[in-house]
Symmetry: none
Subunit: 193 residues, 4 copies
DNA sequence: AATGAATGAGCCTTCATTCAT
DNA sequence: TATGAATGAAGGCTCATTCAT
């Protein structure tokens, strides 16, 4: 693939989040991409053969490798509280930017075809694993209260996804901030009185 | 509408949850209902003019009036812990029965048309209000720890929805039970040591 | 057919002109009649089996028997000018009441099925015949100029139909009056100067 | 649009008059065009999105710019009588070719939607204006009798449309010729006796 | 005489997909 | 690489018509 082809591919992937956020997963058509990218049918099909393919490529690109980042931060001795705060800040920013709508699209995607389920499971497992490591790290450093790390990690992942979805329609920015702050406080080692 | 008509309408509404759970909201077609109910196009259209209409009627029928039940239970002096346990048991049963898939369909429904957003908001607000009342009742009876009732109610509602969604693909029955138990424990008044 | 049935039939025929004027011939459905008459499918079908049947019955009922009236008026020695004026006044009133739209519907009707053509021909022939007799009567009485009665009658019938159609969209009431007056003047015996 | 597309568009427009003449305006379906053009649903929709659109395009293409032709002929000093004769010959040829049926379709078209009315009015106004200019030209040259040009023009336009419609079912070619000849004679300057 | 439930055909419209250029 | 014409299937919707009640 030469430069022109590669740039077209990027144009398509850049258009993807906006489209999927606006219309959901299954409602986006190949024609939507043609219009959004100023591309003809044939031109689009040269790069992707279905919206599923585009959706997957989009997720692939957007997959922030938190695990890797976290590893590096731990090596550098960054405090766990700092890392959690950064993670939650990013989550909040994403939610305000419409992450809930993409999350919804991702659920649709997983639901659309049995072969997509593995993807959803992997996504969830990776998030839980990352969060588990982070919590254990904080507990080891005495920053976080003693708790069942994996169980708590699961709670966080599930809750954050619920918050993403609720953020689409029902919950405003202030509520999101408040909920995230409560979540954060819940793991901190209590001050000795 | 005579008896025959009413029974057909029921047949359609009975077919609805299964279809929407299987395919999501937007992927269900009127033809799906024709097939599921053994009804012709015209026969179906006599009762409903769109899948949106069916979806709304289905939600309307399924709307368990928790608020009312709760009021009655409070009057009867039922313990708050008992009420919460019952609520969570029901939630668990629903999740195992596929409530997450319907929840996903409901999100799709709300997303599909701006005019449907109010429905999602009302659904969320009602759930939060009901849970707030329940928590305040338990706190007043000294059964629950002192906590910000509304804030906690929001947390529960959001988390439960996240759990419903996660239950579709990522989380199994045992995990669901464990998560719900943790949630329940988190509000109990701690035993005096 | 008893009284109730007869009255229902009348209700249908009374609704017909309004419906056909509003929507044209082929665009009116049996359902339109159901709604307009507050009648069910079965109830309507008991009286008429198609819109064509209703349309024909409507025309049949509305067919003013000009020929007969004219015969009587001639016997009574009514002046030809008077008779023509009355005829044109009626035509004008009809046009203002939407006769053009019914005329359009009638053309549609004739066009819809080869078997309906005879109806249009008969309608035209009857109008020409009637007008021919009238003109000859006026010429015999010296009221009208000497002219080819049949040829002129045809001209009148064609022109009046054109005026009906034009009156639907393009020509207003004043124009209609002016055109009809010109037509009337054209046959009068010129005053001796 | 490339050559293939243009040719397909032409094929569609060429099929239009025949279809609309045969079935009227509202009775023609997109499927009729598919069949008439050997085109698939999707292929047809690439070019036109409704029969209304095709109908309009057809009229647009067929719009003979009489006003322009007339202007040129006047500049060249062509006699008014000659111009009128040509116009009437063309009208006669059109009628024999089925112009009445298209005229009927055009009335249906205007009737079908309030937004189409302007089209009918413009069509009528243009015809009257053109004819008015022609009559005034002939009167200025002393070829035609002194008469109210606009009033007469309106008469002609209305009558010709009536004749088109009558020509569909009721009036044969000979009658048409006779009527047109009478119309022509009616404006000529009378021979000095 | 009337109701209204149901059928099935037919039209409208959109979309994924292919293909000649 | 890219264009855009074309296909055919699928889904939405309406209507004339029938029929049990």
């Amino acid at each position: 693939m030469n430069a022109a082809g590669s740039s077209t591919r990027l144009r398509i992937l850049n258009a993807a989040p906006g489209l999927f956020m606006d219309k959901g997963y299954a409602q986006v058509t190949m024609a939507d991409f043609c219009q959004a990218c100023g591309l003809s049918r044939g031109g689009l099909y040269r790069h992707f053969h279905s919206t599923a393919e585009i959706f997957e490529a989009m997720l692939q690109r957007d997959k922030t490798d938190w695990a890797q980042k976290m590893e590096a931060a731990m090596q550098a001795g960054t405090s766990a509280a700092q890392m959690v705060r950064r993670y939650l800040e990013q989550a909040q920013a994403d939610m305000l930017a419409g992450a809930g709508r993409l999350s919804l699209a991702a659920y649709e995607y997983a639901h659309a075809d049995p072969s997509h389920i593995a993807f959803a499971q992997a996504r969830y497992a990776a998030a839980v694993q990352m969060m588990t490591v982070l919590l254990e790290y904080g507990m080891a450093r005495g920053e976080f209260r003693a708790l069942d790390a994996r169980q708590t990690a699961r709670h966080w992942v599930i809750f954050l996804d619920g918050l993403r979805m609720a953020g689409v329609f029902a919950v405003d920015g202030a509520d999101i901030a408040r909920q995230l702050d409560t979540l954060y406080q819940s793991i901190l080692e209590e001050e000795p009185s």
